[in-house]
Symmetry: C2
Subunit: 347 residues, 2 copies
């Protein structure tokens, strides 16, 4: 038996995973496109939505997975458990699906308090109940102290998509409105503030929330929703770039229309961060036919997670694949995808 | 803002997660029953099968999740990627489901070689292809060096269960035969030997394999399959105890009928391990009506992963909830569930 059993391919010293590969920005995309996607490409995966969408017996399903490694595991506005449940619910909702069932895979570090574990599990249950989904299966693994970081959680989920719903960037067309469901950057700033021990007048809380009911209400009033996305890792800027790139349209947004809480904005200035690139965990971007904008906005205002909904811009035929922003001082600039690592382990 | 934001409940010093909580044995069950299950109990989860089983539009589905933290990540006979895909396929198959779709959640440690990652992803793809399932969605997170251990993988999966299939311990009855699909303890011994650098005449290889086709062939010849289980963490002894406990029947097995490779047996003696408690990753236990035994055995012999299939015992009305073994020297003894930690991070 060989006691030096290692990977059978040579590993160049410079070719290592970096923290930035987990940022959700350009490095994450490169990692996926270079080392993962080419090996596992298939017709369903290649759609590259937040959820896989497929048919079984003429019924459309959405299926998604996300692992959560957020640090700290308890933070103002939530904890890793609520975040993991809401995140997977939202990924299903962004495919236009009604989330039904969720799985929970726990990786615990030796030494984690069992009361911390209980607290997180209870938080997952509350989040699941609030969204009307069931946690139906799970798994627990334990790693030695120093080989993990308290707790990592994977949640995967299944939802069903009703007939007639077709959420896809390919449906985007010039003139569509870009709707944002509320203030940005709260989750990322809450996490970083907790991590760095920053104190503000009021505590900045994560916006973690389940958006499935908001999506349900949007789809109730309009069948002309072309894209739904939750701007998590990489923030609003990265999400809009992804949509622009996959729909081959331009995105034109106006900075002054993008709502940011004053305290969040101040925190971003102190920390040297751009709110456009900060993760949200309870917001969505909807791109829809302009004619339906009013009724969509009405529906959103009436949902507790859509009270600050605004139209932030429109889809253009100019600048396909790019996001252009009119700044508050009236100039225009290209808003790129997040490059490198702004905030590690934000979710 | 509070810079000491921690769990809002007190954490007794002695109440911590131990490595043994990940063993799959008594401690794992206690952890689940004490700190997890009470908080998330519902009618589907409470079945506590390897997969959740539910109906959508009159169609029966199986859904399962598993995280893999095996160390080392490359080992004789496979790697963490193949193990993760086969493991989830097998959990679906043990519910009598045809596995269709799999998700992949990666947690990478900063510094992992991208070539190691590529190699693992390719291995996942080969395993998925061999079993006829598709990897349709995924997620990648990165943690700082020293906060993970190279790579952890979660796989979740969805399968469909055909009408008329009802795999459940509640169907077990006295007189049913207990069938084992081959030699035990190979995966666990391969991992431990690789980890400890033990050398034997020939390399002991993990038995990691997809069992969905074997299950399909079993179900083709008999509708009287009462239980299907893959004896992974905790080994054959723990699996039989779980079945005995949930079916409230006794399990009677004969030690001399349980096949163990000679070299694996020798390794177990050197390491002070009992093969009955060692993980398998390509074996199954089938409990079936005695009248159908011959045709089930014929079907299993003809499958590449069932060539060493044997009947190892029978279900009894005596000793409900217990596993009794006739030893090679003719005495009888109770075989308990694994207590404590025999082999950490075996899968």
């Amino acid at each position: 038996m060989n006691n030096n059993f290692t990977c059978p391919v040579p590993i160049p010293e410079y070719d290592k995973i970096l923290l930035g590969h987990g940022s959700g920005g350009i490095l994450s995309h490169k990692l996926f496109e270079q080392f993962i996607h080419p090996h596992i490409s298939n017709n369903i995966l290649d759609d590259l939505h937040d959820s896989a969408v497929f048919e079984i017996n003429n019924k459309k399903f959405a299926f998604t997975t996300d692992s959560y490694v957020v640090q700290p595991i308890f933070f103002p506005g939530g904890d890793i458990g609520a975040l993991a449940v809401n995140g997977t619910i939202n990924d299903l909702a962004m495919a236009g699906a009604k989330p039904l069932f969720i799985s929970v895979g726990l990786i615990l570090e030796e030494g984690l308090g069992t009361d911390e574990l209980s607290h997180i599990i209870q938080s997952m249950k509350r989040a699941a109940d609030a969204a009307g989904v069931k946690i139906v299966t799970g798994d627990t693994k334990v790693v030695e102290k120093g080989k993990g970081d308290k707790i990592f959680i994977n949640t995967s989920g299944i939802g069903v998509i009703e007939k007639g719903i077709d959420i896809s960037p390919k449906n985007c067309k010039a003139g569509d409105v870009i709707i944002l469901s509320g203030k940005i950057a709260e989750h990322g700033v809450a996490i970083l503030s907790a991590r760095e021990g920053l104190k503000f007048e009021t505590t900045i809380k994560s916006d973690t929330a389940p958006l499935n009911k908001l999506v349900h209400e949007i789809l109730n009033v309009s069948k002309n929703i072309h894209v739904l996305r939750d701007p998590t890792r990489g923030g609003l800027a990265t999400t809009l770039n992804e949509i622009a790139s996959s729909s081959i349209t331009g995105m034109f947004i106006e900075e002054e229309k993008i709502p940011v809480d004053e305290e969040v904005r101040a925190a971003c200035e102190i920390l040297g961060l751009d709110p456009l690139y900060i993760a949200n965990e309870g917001k969505l971007v909807a791109i829809a036919q302009r004619e339906d904008a009013d009724k969509i906005l009405d529906a959103m205002y009436n949902n507790e997670f859509g009270r600050d909904t605004v139209v932030i811009g429109e889809v253009t035929s100019d600048n396909p694949g790019e996001v252009i922003m009119k700044t508050t001082i009236g100039t225009k600039r290209i808003v790129d995808m997040l490059s490198g690592e702004q905030l590690p382990r934000i979710c």
